[in-house]
Symmetry: C2
Subunit: 379 residues, 2 copies
Amino acid sequence: MKFSIKKSKFIEALNVVSRAIAPIPVFDILKGIKIEIFNNYIILKASDSLISIEYVIDKYIDDKEMFSTDSEGEIVVPSKYFIDIIKKAPTEYIEFDANSNSIKISSGNSEFNIQGYEVNEYPDFPIISKENKFTISANLFNNIIKETIFCTAQNDQRPILEGVNLELFNSILTATATDSHRLSKRKISLENINTEQTFNMIIPRKALQSVQKIIENRENDIDIYYEDNRIVFVYENITYIILLISGKYPNTDKLIPNIKVCEVEVSGNILFEAVDRVSLISRDDKNDIVKLSINSDTINIFSQSKELGNAEEEIYANIKNDEDLFEIAVSAKFLKEAIHAINSETIIIKFSGELTAFTIEPSDYHRDIVQVLLPVRTY
Amino acid sequence: MKFSIKKSKFIEALNVVSRAIAPIPVFDILKGIKIEIFNNYIILKASDSLISIEYVIDKYIDDKEMFSTDSEGEIVVPSKYFIDIIKKAPTEYIEFDANSNSIKISSGNSEFNIQGYEVNEYPDFPIISKENKFTISANLFNNIIKETIFCTAQNDQRPILEGVNLELFNSILTATATDSHRLSKRKISLENINTEQTFNMIIPRKALQSVQKIIENRENDIDIYYEDNRIVFVYENITYIILLISGKYPNTDKLIPNIKVCEVEVSGNILFEAVDRVSLISRDDKNDIVKLSINSDTINIFSQSKELGNAEEEIYANIKNDEDLFEIAVSAKFLKEAIHAINSETIIIKFSGELTAFTIEPSDYHRDIVQVLLPVRTY
């Protein structure tokens, strides 16, 4: 196999696929990146066996030649060294000459002779069924991930909680994540979709984080294909193949309270900043707790630590309170993350009781999103 | 003690002095920052007992009032939390009201009540003798540190090698560092100095790194006071008091070879880049070695690793060689760092033998600096 490739494009492709490579891969061969040349394409592949990424380099981009080939073939290069060698190459185009798994890399006066992996040992990527598909803008899908992923459980005994639940029913796509202390649920209406189409799957957090890096600040559409145990994201020339978490996601609708004893309308930003400040005093405690005392037109935020002292701050809010004084204690971190996800100038907090879950929503309901938090017992 | 202070100035001062605070201080009280108010000054102090930093805040800067005081006094605040509380304060000026070691911090609607440390327990800073002094521009002194500090030994059995040796003799200031595999020596002529003034001291690496952060990209002069066991740097309103490493620094002049069998004049940048690339192949080996083969008008740089393969690159150079072929093996990291420190378009390398030390100097000798490297035995 012999080819010459434009350095900048090659680095871009290597950076994308190398995200799939695990720090300590299960199999040695998965330390490698597979490079396939056939017809007018160069295809790069990498995988940690749960996430597999493929990047197709077109021969011409904007009429510029990205590569030229003397002969087709396949090689598997050691990712760790290879990417640095390419990054430091002194010329615009880099030449490769591979004879079975012995690879020569030339750039100007520099020449590397490195050992590749045995191509036949590299696992085949699955063939993607194109039967079930929907399309969503990269920007919108990135938001859905951001708005839910932080609520996934970390190191939970139930692996299903370590992913985001994605459900399609009646043309409504619902993303849900919960660590059993809090929950985030975001719904959007999909257009141009067969109303008969339904699915319910759990996508691993790590895979979504990897996808996020590609689609952040991008505008084009993502094609999403799904099968029983796999979801495939295709964005432009990049394909992500992801193994789903198997299991049945719990019914989370019953976790959202529908009674209300106190309702607060407040600036999301002002509440966030006040909680952020007051909780400085308790952030090193195991439970980083702030106490909210809701009066007729103010919220008092209070926190204390035995070692350090206490802090409090009062902010104005629009309050409908059935009682004279409503008090609740909550994790400052969770409260801040929920306000951040709501991302609305004004937020509505609905309390159902001092020891029961409460909800946070955007005041103008411009997005169908709800955050549910459980208060903390302080006595 | 009661005062109000401009947030931005206070943060600046806190950031400077907090650099002295050790991650795990020997004494609990050294987790604190001492704040003294008297006359028209606020003075901040912090120390890890080897490095002590003092920052004086003037009452007026450019006619703007930095602080106002209701009553004078001293407090010791817990640095870790205190700086974050100040950074997140919502108002331009922050108010303090301290009653013995109970401290109230107010900013807008937010109020913190924190415990300070016992002021009497805070160690006194030494009184600085102003007897012996010299002055040097911050920029030049920063360069001298940069050009030598990387050669100090890491975790050596001899603590004296973990500092930079600073010597004054005949109005020449010499900075030297060596880890016994390589050496950097930089000399400058001091003006306006009493030719009788001499000293020879070893300044701990960590202290110099801390000083560097303050004087980087600064142009004013530093006043340097020295005593038997201490050196004091005064830059504007910041004072660094540093305990010296005790002991006698070895005579390093005899380590600089004065015979020469091969002399190479080469672009510093081209050699650096070539070594950087070729050594990619060996960087994970214990000895990250490149082999230089010096011919009549080229240098061939070669490296190999059993696991990975090999790399080589040829570059042009102006060579005076007593032999047909001169070969030497050297640590790529040390060679790159030496070229970097020389910081000259063209460098002169003088070899004294294949197994003896060689030197690198700037070709125009515009700065009196020399790097000495020991080759590595490869058989």
